[in-house]
Structure formats: structure tokens, C-alpha cells
Amino acid sequence: MLLSVDALKVVYQVKRGWPLPKTHLLKAVDGVSFEIAAGEALGIVGESGCGKSTVARAILRLVEPEAGRVAYAGTDVSHLPLRELRRLRPMVQMIFQDPAASLSPRMRIGDALAEAIRVHGIAEGSAIDDLVASTLTEVGLSPDVAGRYPHEFSGGQKQRIGIARALVLSPKLIIADEPVSALDMSVQAQILNLMARLKSERGIAFAFISHDLGVVRHFCERTAVMYLGQIIESGATREIFDAPLHPYTRLLRSVSPVPDPERDSAPTVPEGEPPSPLDPPGGCRFNPRCPFATDLCRTVIPELRPVNARNVACHHAESLPSEGF
């Protein structure tokens, strides 16, 4: 496996209260496990506060996990000293929602790309410039733009630069955190097509984090759905979206708008919002919003277990009525 994440747990300390703030523990990620094979795209979906971005950060050790294991191609990196981790960094790269925030406004694009190449000793001398030029071409920019500054580019072009900076290190896996959410519709398609090409031509694997189910369906072979720090359903994207099992996945799927006025929209949705991850409900975390919840759901946390060729964390996965949501 290119990436394996096992029982990952990330806890943040947050201060709340006035006048004397108290420290609370927020379990942003609570026992998450998944694997990504070479050349495969895994979509991680969920609403804000579900922990999907924290998972991404923990994989790269931008936050330190409280417990659990993250391994790149079999090497456990969760306790590796940072100096040694650095040697593995080219393998796993990240692209962000706001590429402008990850580019120094004072650095020319070519210099920013060359710095990454130099730091990791990927190439030397004139080979650096050649690599920069060929990578810019690969992401659909002219090699001449190397001399320009980030503010001279549009949002879509900046995202191309963000992708180029990941690519110069020849990564095996790219972690993409909402890479197209800030882009206009016509540009979103350009960037998605570019990433799809990198996946098929270079065999790069992706962990693709998004709140947009349509985009995930288009790009990812497999999907994991998160709710309040846990994966509640995972499996092949098509199966999950065409026949979602977990009541939360069913809810998400039914409220995701479909660009087709002739489709009957889902019946009215229940009121309610995800509870604060600071104070998650006992038992199944979805139970306060779930129309099928029983006493079992309110007391015992369901395990993620195989049902119908996928994994579902629901006590009643086999016996849920087909109606509802």
C-alpha cells in the first residue's frame, strides 16, 4: 500500500469560556483508518468540522497525531524524527484550496519551484531550469511565466502553479484539500481534467478532500464519508453515491444539488446541524439527527464493518428501510 492510515487520532486543545477560559480537548479525528493504493484516488467527504482537513494534515505530520499510525509505502512515519521524515517528503505532496496562500508573493514562480527542487536535491545546475520549464508546460502554462510573480496570475493559473510545485518532486501521492472549491465553474473543469491526466499518465495517487460530492464522483474511484471525526461509510464511489447505506450518507446524497431541473428533488430535509465536535453525542455520533436511531445507537458506538461490498458504521445497516431522507 502506498499510504496506510491506521486508527489515527488527533486531539486539539481549545480554550473556551469567559472570563476564565478552560482548556477542552477536541477530538478532531477519532480512530480513522484507510489505505490508498498507487495510482488511485480516494475521496474524503464530509461537512465542515468533520475532520477531513485534519486527516490530511496528520498524514503530512503538519499536526502531530495523538495515536495511530501513518505509513508511506510501508515505512511508519508517525514517529519518525523530522530529519528523516524530510527524505520521504517528496513522495507525498499537498495542494491547497487557496494556492495564493501557499506561494510567497515576493518570489518569482520559477524560483519557488527551483527552491523545492534544490532543497530535496532532485536536480542540479541547469537541470533545475529544465525541470521547472517542463513541469510548467505539463500543467498547461508557458515556461516563460517562471520570471513572474504570483499576483500576475488568475486563480486557476495559481492552482496550476500549486500543482507544478508538487509535481517537480515527482510525488507518488498528492493530498488535495478542496483544490477546486475556490475556482469558477469553467476553470474548475480545467483543473479537474489536469489532475485526471496526472493520475492516468504519471500514476499519481490522490487523497482528494472535498465537500462537493459531484466533484468527488467524477475524480475518485473510492470514497470515505466522515462525520464528526470518524469514517461512517467507505467503499467504491459509484456504489456509495448510487446506493448510500449509512443514514448520513443518504442525507448528504439527497441534499447535494443535481444540475437537472427535471429530476424530482428529494423530499424536505430534516432541520438540524452537526453538533459541535467539542461535545459529540454518545453512541453513534449521528444518532440525534437520525430518523432510524434506537437505544442501541444512543449508547454503543458502531464499528466500521463490511456490509454490501463496502464498510459502514451503522448498527442497522442491513435492516434500514429504503425510504427516509
Binding site: E47, M185, V187, Q190, L213, V269, E273
Partner: protein, 329 residues
């Protein structure tokens, strides 16, 4: 009955590099009880349009031609004092970011009560009672006890409900919702859109739904205006637009949408990008990105109705009879 009519509106920006038209020849109308969606990407002029209607244009922008008619009264030349009476009373507004529409140092209840006292002249006690009713109508749980809460004590979705209560407080004939759910999660987005639909039905308001999201348009609008570079490039019922888009931009946009209910092999993408304001072409503003661009496209195309009485209009030379001859003549 028509609630809002925009007639041949032109809004001009004075930039350092010279004047430019941020909106050109924009015409449409919104009927009572109807939702008209204005859809387009950033820079298409949809927010400039909203500001032109509300009289909130920045100082560098002016309406240089055309009319904004609310009911039967043209309001584009009204002085600011008169517009203050129109906004909030006759036009309700809901914006993308509810936190910026609410004052953090006043309770939500008092903010909903304020327009009731200012515009309708209710007493303090009456305004409080009406505000609580409004909070219940937008389904804020235990409204009476949350009257005295502050905006920061509410979630994003609940804040947007407060803003909606504020917007409908004076029973406006027209509601302008500018990206009302863009900052919200999908489950909350759906709740808010359903709420807007319900309130609109009850009040028979006309609604202008400004959004970049075509999937929302499909589910929640009656008719749609597609904008590009300050022009209305196509106008149709939602069904007609999705079934038979006529403008090359609208066609490309619809083909570029990923779908949650269906597998697509590749997304159609539109090459290039939206032209910046200072460099807008004189003719059709889609010319640089259009696969069908012809010589005649250097001139602005007229709006053409496709079929009698369909209210399906498109502004593209491809649909003008003898369009390519017009370049010569």
C-alpha cells in the same frame, strides 16, 4: 404582476484606464411569486447588478443608461434618503456572509425589531412580539429565549436564518438573495433554500437569486438569466436552459458540471479565463473563448427571442438570421 423590471441598464465604471461598462443593455423582469436566478462566474457583473438595483454602487460606478423599475416606480435616480426607505422595506436583502450583515454588539432580536420600528412604526413591545414571530417563521428553535442572544452565539446556518427574518420583516415585494448559501454546508444549504422557497410562496415575493451554482438554479429557480462579462447572454425558463442551451457559453458551462448522480468520462472545459474589467472586448465578450467566433462577433450581438412568446432569448450572432452578413452591412 411584475415586481421588478430592469430596462436596458448600463452601469459604467470610471477606472484609471478609462471608462468601462460593467453592465450593458441588461433587461429582464421578475414577477410576483417568481424566482429569477442570475447565474455567472466571478466578474460577470451579477453583484454589480444587485448593487445597481439597491442603489449601493461604489462611488466609481454610475448607472449611465436605462431604468430600475420597482413596481411601477423608476428608482435608479432616487436620492440616497429615499433609497434608505426602499431598502429593507420594499426590497429585502440576504447576503453570502451573514456575520457581516449582522452587528456583533446588538442582540439578534433587537436587530430584527429595528426595521419594524423604523419602517413600520411599531412600538417597542409590538416590534419584539413581531420579531419573535419572524424568528419562529424562519424556524429558529426556541425563538423567544434566543431573542436576546448575540450573533456569535449562533451557527452559520442560524445566522443566515436571522438575516432572512430581517429581510422579510417589512414584507418586501422583492427579495434579493446574493449567494445566500455559498458559505454553508450542503445540508444547511438545502434547509435555507427550502426555507426561502416556503417564505416566498407564503408572501408571494419576487426573488432574485444570485448564484454561481447551476445545480441550485436547477432545483430552486423558475427562470434564469445567464451573465457573462456584464452582458445577459441568455435568458430562459430553467427547463429550457437545461434542455436546450443556445449560447456557446451556456452550453459549455452546462457541459462542465460534474454530477453526483451520473458518471461522466471527461468534463468539457472552457479554455482561457474571464476577461478582466479593463480589457473587456467591445463586441461579444465571450469572443476570445468561443469556438464559434466569427468576424461579426466584434460587434455586440442583439438579443434574439428563440420562438414566439417563449421568453427564451439569447445574445449571440449564431442565432441572428443572416448574422454573418451583418458584419458587411
Amino acid at each position: 404582476m411584475t415586481v421588478l423590471t430592469i430596462e436596458n441598464l448600463r452601469t459604467t465604471l470610471r477606472l484609471d484606464s478609462g471608462d468601462c461598462d460593467a453592465l450593458r443593455e441588461v433587461s429582464f423582469s421578475v414577477d410576483e411569486g417568481e424566482t429569477l436566478a442570475i447565474v455567472g462566474e466571478s466578474g460577470c457583473g451579477k453583484s454589480m447588478l444587485a448593487m445597481s438595483i439597491m442603489g449601493l454602487l461604489p462611488s466609481i460606478a454610475t448607472i449611465s443608461e436605462g431604468h430600475v423599475v420597482l413596481g411601477s416606480r423608476a428608482i435608479e435616480a432616487e436620492p440616497e434618503a429615499a433609497m434608505e426607505k426602499v431598502r429593507g422595506a420594499e426590497i429585502g436583502m440576504v447576503f453570502q456572509e451573514p456575520m457581516t450583515a449582522l452587528n456583533p454588539v446588538f442582540t439578534v432580536g433587537s436587530q430584527i425589531a429595528e426595521p419594524l420600528r423604523d419602517h413600520l412604526g411599531l412600538s417597542r413591545a409590538e416590534a419584539r412580539k413581531t420579531a419573535i414571530d419572524l424568528m419562529e417563521r424562519v424556524r429558529i428553535p426556541s425563538a423567544a429565549s434566543r431573542y436576546d442572544s448575540y450573533p456569535h452565539e449562533f451557527s452559520g446556518g442560524m445566522r443566515q436564518r436571522v438575516v432572512i427574518a430581517l429581510a422579510i420583516a417589512c414584507r418586501p415585494k422583492l427579495l434579493i438573495a446574493d449567494e445566500p448559501t455559498t458559505a454553508l454546508d450542503v445540508t444547511v444549504q438545502r434547509q435555507i433554500l427550502d426555507l426561502l422557497d416556503t417564505l416566498q410562496d407564503q408572501e408571494k415575493m419576487g426573488m432574485l437569486l444570485i448564484t454561481h451554482n447551476l445545480a441550485i438554479v436547477a432545483g430552486h429557480a423558475d427562470r434564469v438569466v445567464v451573465m457573462y462579462g456584464g452582458d445577459v447572454v441568455e435568458q430562459a425558463t430553467v427547463r429550457d436552459l437545461f434542455r436546450s442551451p443556445a449560447h456557446p457559453y451556456a452550453r459549455a458551462l452546462l457541459a462542465s458540471l460534474p454530477r453526483v448522480d451520473r458518471d461522466l468520462s471527461e468534463l468539457a472545459s472552457i479554455p482561457g479565463r474571464v476577461p478582466p474589467l479593463a480589457k473587456l472586448p467591445d463586441g461579444c465578450r465571450f469572443i476570445d473563448r468561443c469556438p464559434h467566433a466569427m468576424d461579426v462577433c466584434g460587434k455586440m450581438p442583439p438579443a434574439v427571442e428563440l420562438g414566439q412568446g417563449t421568453r427564451h432569448t439569447v445574445r449571440c450572432w449564431l442565432h441572428v438570421e443572416g448574422g454573418s452578413d451583418a458584419a458587411v452591412g
